[in-house]
């Protein structure tokens, strides 16, 4: 990442590209006729989100997004979809009419309004940390530690320690539940 990236056209182009990609594949998710295709589109959308994270300076989050979300959660999603028959075509997309149309309009106005209002405010929503690379050339000796990784790690274990522990406790409960469910099916199995 480069100190002057935010003002360069590459930045804007990257954000727009990733955004369009996320929106496009996101719409495939909700309109695909087979659940497996929807799952694949979701994988693609999550990759686009990871790209956005990376461009905005949260590179650790981008890596973690791909590793955990795509590599773990989506694999699980695909498993489940396969088990419940993901190849069959689902019902046709239903038309949006009546109350649904009203609700959809409200949602669009609210979200669109917040985007527009936020973009028009003078203060940037966040500050891009200057990148660790001192020189632009690739021949530089040391790139340095990823600031984002360091910051996320420090925050997780100091300021956000309690939510972190609570989340891990929740996961532990889920794991125990899964083991109990799996074992419960086969009562005669020894070991």
């Amino acid at each position: 990442m480069y100190p002057d990236l935010q003002s360069s056209p590459w930045f804007l182009g990257a954000v727009i590209a990733f955004g369009l990609w996320a929106v496009a594949t996101g719409s495939v998710v909700i309109t695909a006729q087979r659940p497996v295709h929807a799952a694949l589109a979701l994988v693609s959308a999550l990759m686009a989100v990871a790209g956005l994270f990376a461009v905005l300076g949260a590179e650790f989050l981008a890596g973690a997004q791909v590793l955990v979300y795509v590599g773990g959660v989506m694999v699980l999603f695909v498993f489940v979809i396969m088990v419940v028959g993901g190849g069959r075509k689902t019902a046709e997309v239903e038309p949006v009419s009546g109350v649904r149309f009203l609700a959809a309009t409200v949602v669009v106005l609210v979200i669109g309004g917040s985007i527009v209002l936020g973009a028009r405010s003078a203060q940037p929503a966040f500050e891009l940390r200057p990148g660790p690379r001192a020189a632009a050339s690739k021949d530089a000796v040391r790139a340095g530690v990823s600031r984002n990784t360091e910051d996320v790690g420090t925050d997780l274990y100091t300021r956000a320690a309690l939510p972190f522990e609570v989340a891990s406790l929740l996961l532990l409960v889920a794991i125990v539940g899964a083991v109990v469910l799996a074992k419960g099916r086969r009562v005669e199995q020894d070991d």
């Binding site: 590459w10 087979r34 497996v36 295709h37 694949l40 994988v43 590179e59 650790f60 981008a62 890596g63 973690a64 997004q65 791909v66 590793l67 795509v70 590599g71 773990g72 989506m74 694999v75 695909v78 498993f79 396969m82 993901g86 190849g87 660790p132 050339s137 690739k138 021949d139 530089a140 000796v141 040391r142 790139a143 340095g144 530690v145 990823s146 600031r147 984002n148 990784t149």
Partner: protein, 463 residues
């Protein structure tokens, strides 16, 4: 600057070496700019494209010749000669195989989901080849790019390959393929955990996720991280065998049982895409091992070798170009050694059954790597200088890397011995394995237990 224990051989006596001076080097980007390409375009588009093309060409040829190497290694281990007919010593065999595969009928099984069937091998290969941009083949321009979360990116993209396998098995509309795909993906996901945890150990010392920086940190400290983290290296190596579906963990694609598992319905070029993905994964996991544990492209004495070959010292562009080229050679050598060991293991050991495989991953490798992290981190903390938060002052975290004198090195080697012993003890306790090394007695007990002639395992141990 002295801690509660005054050690006169501690590094505070000798200061760490200054960072090496930046050597002027010939820049390929400047070369491209000199023919009229604008700066940004040259640096971010043209030169990476050239690098990518070169790397893809080299790696795809390497993958093809890895199949040849595998057949030769297998043959020599099995007291025979391997491919000998096509070209001298069979060297054109991969070409013949490639041509054959390209000329096969392109079929899609009846009832298969066409899109997913076609997309699955592409996904697998993309995940495998996409990792090539980050591998530090050599110094300076020997790598396509270097991002500061390099290792994390490698692990992340590698985990996408799992999706390719799952989808391939499902889309083939065959029971065998589905079973193979399920097993394979469960195996890959489990061993990814162990792999990641094993890599955390050397990261304590390297203190960065960037691939080039990991190599530089080993150069700076003068120590390959395998010396201070041998347990992590072993766990990583075993995990990489499982990640690439290689024996003894190749049950999902074992020929004698599931008849090739998840890619049983693929033929011709699509099948070779899976194969390419597998061998590319082997190269990449070996490359990661070489980088993180074995010092990457650096080698003690590399600088003197380069000055001797180039005829100049470290002040000319010729030197740095020669340095980069030689470093690529060193890296290739290390990766080749590791790949050879991977093949050697395949043709020596039998195959683990699926439940034994999962057992190994969850009950052995993950506790071992967790214990390794715990103990290494604690030892490291104790060894740090008091003004940096530690106790003994054997290790100094400087701006440019980790500095430790002889005392520090000896300390960490001793800690590793202790880690090994403790890990073994912990495992024995956790897994309720007897300490007995008498395998015959053990197996007699096990057989009787399974035959139901012994009521409980405790009774068995009493015998």
């Amino acid at each position: 600057m002295s801690g509660p224990i005054a050690l006169h051989w501690a590094p505070q006596a000798a200061s760490p070496p200054p960072p090496p001076p930046v050597v002027p080097s010939w820049s390929p980007v400047e070369l491209i700019e000199s023919i009229g390409v604008p700066h940004g375009f040259a640096e971010y588009v043209v030169w990476p494209a050239v690098q990518l093309a070169l790397i893809l060409f080299v790696v795809l040829t390497a993958v093809a010749y890895l199949t040849y190497l595998e057949r030769k290694v297998a043959a020599f281990i099995q007291a025979r000669l391997g491919p000998m007919r096509v070209g001298p010593v069979g060297l054109l065999q991969p070409l013949a195989d490639g041509l054959k595969l390209l000329s096969k009928e392109d079929l899609v099984p009846a009832g298969a989901d066409r899109f997913v069937y076609l997309a699955a091998p592409v996904l697998a290969v993309t995940a495998a080849l996409g990792l090539l941009v980050l591998v530090p083949f050599g110094a300076a321009w020997g790598t396509v790019t270097d991002i500061n979360i390099g290792l994390l990116f490698l692990l992340a993209v590698a985990s996408i390959g799992v999706l390719g396998i799952v989808l391939a098995g499902w889309a083939s509309n065959s029971k065998y393929a589905l079973l193979g795909a399920m097993r394979s993906s469960a195996q890959l996901v489990s061993y990814e955990v162990a792999l990641g945890l094993a890599l955390v150990g050397p990261l304590l010392f390297a203190r960065t996720l960037s691939m080039q920086e990991i190599v530089e940190s080993q150069r700076f400290t003068g120590l390959w991280w395998v010396a201070v983290q041998p347990l992590a290296f072993v766990v990583y190596f075993i995990g990489s065998l499982a990640e690439t579906n290689r024996a003894p963990f190749d049950l999902p694609e074992s020929e004698s049982e599931l008849v090739a598992g998840f890619h049983v319905e693929y033929s011709g070029f699509r099948w070779s895409l899976f194969f390419m993905a597998e061998y590319a994964n082997i190269i990449i996991t070996s490359a990661i091992a070489a980088t993180v544990f074995l010092g990457g492209w650096s080698m003690p004495g590399l600088e003197t070798a380069v000055s001797w070959i180039a005829g100049t010292d470290a002040t000319t562009p010729l030197y740095s170009t020669a340095f980069t080229l030689l470093s690529i050679g060193v890296f290739a050598g290390k990766v080749l050694v590791l790949v050879y060991v991977v093949m050697w293991v395949r043709w020596t050991l039998p195959r683990y059954r699926y439940d034994q495989l999962m057992d190994l991953g969850w009950r052995w490798l993950i506790p071992v790597s967790l214990a390794n992290i715990l103990i290494s981190a604690f030892a490291f903390l104790v060894a740090m200088r008091p003004d940096q938060g530690g106790l003994l002052g054997l290790v100094e975290v400087t701006k440019n890397g980790l500095w430790m004198g002889w005392a520090g090195t000896a300390y960490f080697l001793l800690v590793n011995l202790a880690t090994f012993a403790m890990a073994a003890w912990l495992l024995a306790k956790l897994n309720k394995t007897a300490w007995s090394t008498d395998l015959h007695a053990l197996r007699r007990v096990e057989a009787l237990r399974r035959a139901g002639r012994l009521a409980t395992a405790e009774e068995a141990r009493a015998e």
